[in-house]
Every structure is written in C-alpha cells, then in structure tokens.
C-alpha cells in the first residue's frame, strides 16, 4: 500500500461525493419551482440506492474477474466478500477503490434523471435505478474501467484491454452512457405537457451556477483521482480539467454572442460542464494546450447540440443528451486527434481514432437499447409517467407531499 496514493484517493472520493448535491442543485435550478424537489430527490435517491446495489452485485459485475469476452465480471465479490481492510487494488485499499468507483455510477445515473425531469413517477424511478445499475452501468464500467492485472491473472473489460480505446475517467461509461440512456427514457416517458408551447423557464439560475461550481470542484477528484495515485498523471488530469472547463465556458459563450449578441449565465454554467464532460476521457492523455482545444470545442458543439431536441422533438428536459452524450463523444473522439502518444495530430495515424469511435458507438447503442427496454417494461407495468393534472399542478406536491418554497404575494406563483 502507498499511503500517498491512498490519501489522495480518499480525498478524491470525498470530492466526487460532493458532485451528487452539486448535480442536484445544478438540475434543481433548471426546472420550474413546482418540480425542484422531485429532481433533487431523483439524484439523492440515486445516492442512496446505488451504493447498496454496488455493494451487493454491482462491484463484482464491474471489477470481478472477467467471465469471458470482456463483457462482465464474475461473482467472487458478491456482497464484497473476500475483501478486507488489507486487500489492495494497485497501491490503494480495495475498500477505497470500491467507494470511489461507486460514486462514478451515482453521478451517472443521477445525470440520467435530467432527461425526464418534471414528469416521472418517483416510484418508477425507484424501480428503474437498481435495474439500470445492474444491466447497464455495471457491465459498461467493466468494459471501460476494469484493466487486466499486470500478471495476467485477473482479466478486465473489452474496451480497456482488447480494443484499447483510451477513456481515462469515463467519457463512455459515465457521459455517453448517461446521455443516451437519458435519450431512451425521454422517448419512453414522452414530452412534457406544454412542450414547445409553454416556457419551461429555469426557476433559480443562481442554484444552477452553485451546482456547476460544486460539480467542477468535485470533478477534480473525478478526473485527477482516476489516476488512482498521487503522481504526475494526477497532476496532468488536474490541469487539463481546469483548462477544458475554462475553454468550455468561452466556447459556449462564443456561440451565444454570435447568435444572441449576449452571453448568459446559464450558458456559462453549461459551458463549464460541457468542457468538464469532454475532458473526462481525455484528461490523462492530452496536453494542457490540447485541453483548451477539447474544452472550447465541447462548449461550442454542446451549445449547438442542445438545439437538436427541438429539431427531433424529444423532450430531454435538462439537456443530458446535448451536454453529456454529445460532450462525451467530443471528448472520446478528441483523443484520436490530440492524445500526445497516439493521436492523429501527433503522428499516431487513424488507428486510435478508430478505437475511440468504436468504443463510443458501442456504448451509445448499448446504453440506448437496454435502457429503452428497461424503461418500456416499467412503463407497461407500473407506468413511468405522472398524470397530466399532477404535471400541471406540480410534481413536488403530488409525489412528495412537499413544496420547495412558500409563495406569498408576488407573481412568482404565476410563472412557476
């Protein structure tokens, strides 16, 4: 065990945990005031149920010895059996590794919630999350995050080992996965009442900015912690995470200035997240100058991509597809060009770009198809969507017997 590595991973784990309330505020500010508690609860429920499922089955499916073909891990760690305080993963205690990896999944499934904000039955979400963890998150995490052990005794997933795509902290397993799982659910659950006719104005942009800031803070643990060591790679991930977030803000604002002649605070928050998303897979393999390209590109492309939902008429309420799905693809493909050891711009040829594209495409299709089937099954049995009058009067009151704010006087009740 390396105490320096362990100390850093403990700290990183705590940083990543803060992304859950960060995401809850980021999303909570974006919805109307009558549904803020519901979306925050969807994220907090993910934080509650995911670890339990992870302890029982998820961890072993992701990090157990591969059962063959690199598709899923075996059952030797069911209920975390066989792991003790002195068990090591690399240079750190396995218990720390288990929780660090667990929180990636918490954020991933929390992100999915944004696609169906305002209109999903909470009970349906409670059923969806554990099933999705087992059928989608855990296998994909195995493909991407489980590496063969150095002595070859333990086999990992096909994307990390056989394919050899580079995905440092989860451009596929977290970002593309959440984006296109979100798309599938948005299609299953359907468009909100009033889609394209009524304004769905974000009710609290300061909360969105607070959430974006907390996410950025936590992302340092997410990316630099993914080095699983207190070393130079962690430093590279840290500086690249910073560069991409900054460039992401500017990229998004640039699109807004061209289109609207103004820069919005919502755009700045969104641009930071787009930059963070795109640097997630690439933070360990591009240069700091490269991170500025990745972030700037992600900010601009995602600012454009969030308009796709209006064109194709799917109601991805909080733009999970446009920011995380598309941003994840930008980051994965950027590696093919900008990775300093294998990228096209560094003389690496097209081979790495091809691997990146294959990994992205397979995770995209797998996430979409399997999530669609889970969503359909839930919708056909218990129903995924609240009644129309509940959606109109406010999902917080109907689903949670609470309202977030006391409305007295003022016009705030009229717009909310």
């Amino acid at each position: 065990m390396d105490t320096g590595d362990t100390a850093w991973l403990l700290a990183s784990t705590a940083l990543v945990l803060l992304m859950a309330p960060g995401l809850a505020f980021f999303y909570g500010g974006m919805v109307r005031s009558k549904s803020v508690l519901n979306i925050m609860m969807m994220v907090f429920y993910a934080l509650a149920i995911f670890p339990i499922v992870w302890f029982l089955f998820g961890y072993t499916m992701a990090f157990g010895n591969d059962v063959g073909l690199g598709l899923v891990g075996g059952g030797e760690f069911i209920g975390l059996r066989g792991i003790a305080p002195d068990t090591l993963t690399g240079t750190v205690p396995t218990y720390v590794f288990v929780v660090f990896q667990m929180l990636f999944g918490v954020i991933t499934v929390g992100l999915v919630a944004g696609a169906i904000a305002d209109r999903a039955k909470f009970a349906a979400w409670m059923v969806f999350v554990p099933i999705w963890v087992l059928l989608v998150y855990a296998p994909v995490a195995h493909w991407v995050f489980a590496f063969d052990s150095a002595d070859g005794s333990v086999k990992g997933g096909w994307i990390a080992n056989q394919l050899g795509a580079l995905d440092f902290a989860g451009g596929t397993a977290v970002e593309i996965n959440s984006g296109f799982s979100g798309l599938a659910l948005a299609i299953i659950v359907g468009r909100r009442v009033g889609w394209k006719r009524e304004p769905f104005r974000p009710h609290n942009l300061p909360a969105v900015l607070l959430g974006a800031g907390l996410l950025w803070f936590g992302w340092y643990g997410f990316n630099a912690g993914s080095a699983l060591a207190a070393n130079g790679t962690a430093g590279l991930a840290l500086i690249n995470t910073t560069g991409s977030a900054c460039a992401g803000i500017l990229g998004w604002l640039a699109v807004e200035f061209v289109r609207d002649r103004k820069g919005t605070s919502f755009g700045a928050a969104s641009g930071a997240i787009a930059g963070l998303v795109a640097i997630t897979p690439s933070c360990g393999v591009v240069s700091p100058m490269g991170s500025l390209v990745v972030g700037g590109l992600a900010g601009a492309v995602c600012a454009w991509a969030i308009g796709l939902k209006y064109k194709f008429d799917y109601d991805d309420s909080l733009d999970v597809v446009g920011v995380h799905g598309v941003g994840g693809i930008v980051g994965m493909l950027a590696i093919g060009f900008l990775a300093t050891e294998a990228g096209l711009f560094y003389g690496g040829g097209l081979e790495q770009l091809g691997r990146q594209a294959v990994a992205s495409a397979v995770v995209l299709v797998y996430a979409f198809v399997v999530t669609y089937m889970i969503g359909l099954a839930i919708d056909k049995t218990i129903g995924f969507r609240v009644e129309e009058d509940v959606e109109r009067s406010g999902i917080d009151q109907a689903e949670h017997l609470e309202t977030a704010y006391e409305h007295l006087g003022g016009g705030s009740t009229l717009g909310g």
């Binding site: 104005r201 003022g410 016009g411 705030s412």
Partner: protein
Amino acid sequence: MADRRWEGELKLVTAVIKPHKWEDVREALAAVGISGMTVMEATGHGHQKGHTEVYRGAEYAVTLVPKIRLEVVVDDHDVDDVVQAISTAAHTGKIGDGKIWVVPVDSIVRVRTGETNESAL
C-alpha cells in the same frame, strides 16, 4: 373611537410602477406627508406586452413583467398631491411606466385602537 362626525371623503390610490422606481416613489410620498402604505410585488403587462428571454438558446416571450403595486388610503384633499408625486417619481417616459387609479373608500378602521375614518389614516 373618534366621536366627531366624518365630513370628508377617503380615497384609495393604487399605483402599478416599475420596480426600480420604487425607492423614488417612496421618497416622493414621504415628501408629501404619506407615512403608511401597502406594497406588493406583482406581475402584469399593459401595452408593453412583456419581453424576450433566452435560456440555453430557447427564446421565451415573458408576457408578465415584474411590477410593484402600492396602495395608499388618503384624505380626498391630498389625492391630487399624492397622485402627482407618484406620477412624477415613477416617470421614465418609456413604455411600461405603469398606471395609477383612484377609487372611493367607504370607511377605514385602525385595528390597534379601533379608530375610524380620518383618525385612522
């Protein structure tokens, strides 16, 4: 309770103004001796018909604009001064400056003392 007979009239002056003119209006009312009023945050629109806001590229026509609505009950003799004070202080000359209207009030009671009418002002 005031004993003498009420001879004057009471008026309710209601004004809907731009929120950023509220401080000016408050000062102007104080200058003409008005110390009590009720103020509410309100929304609405007149010929102004709202404005446009943009969230993640999606344009929204915001038809209800934030306003301040204030109400003050005054003696009939003071109505012209009060209306003039509000009107001058709230004026910007741009669309959306608001409205002021005056209606008669039958009676008024001060809850703390039970005083009525002009004694309760």
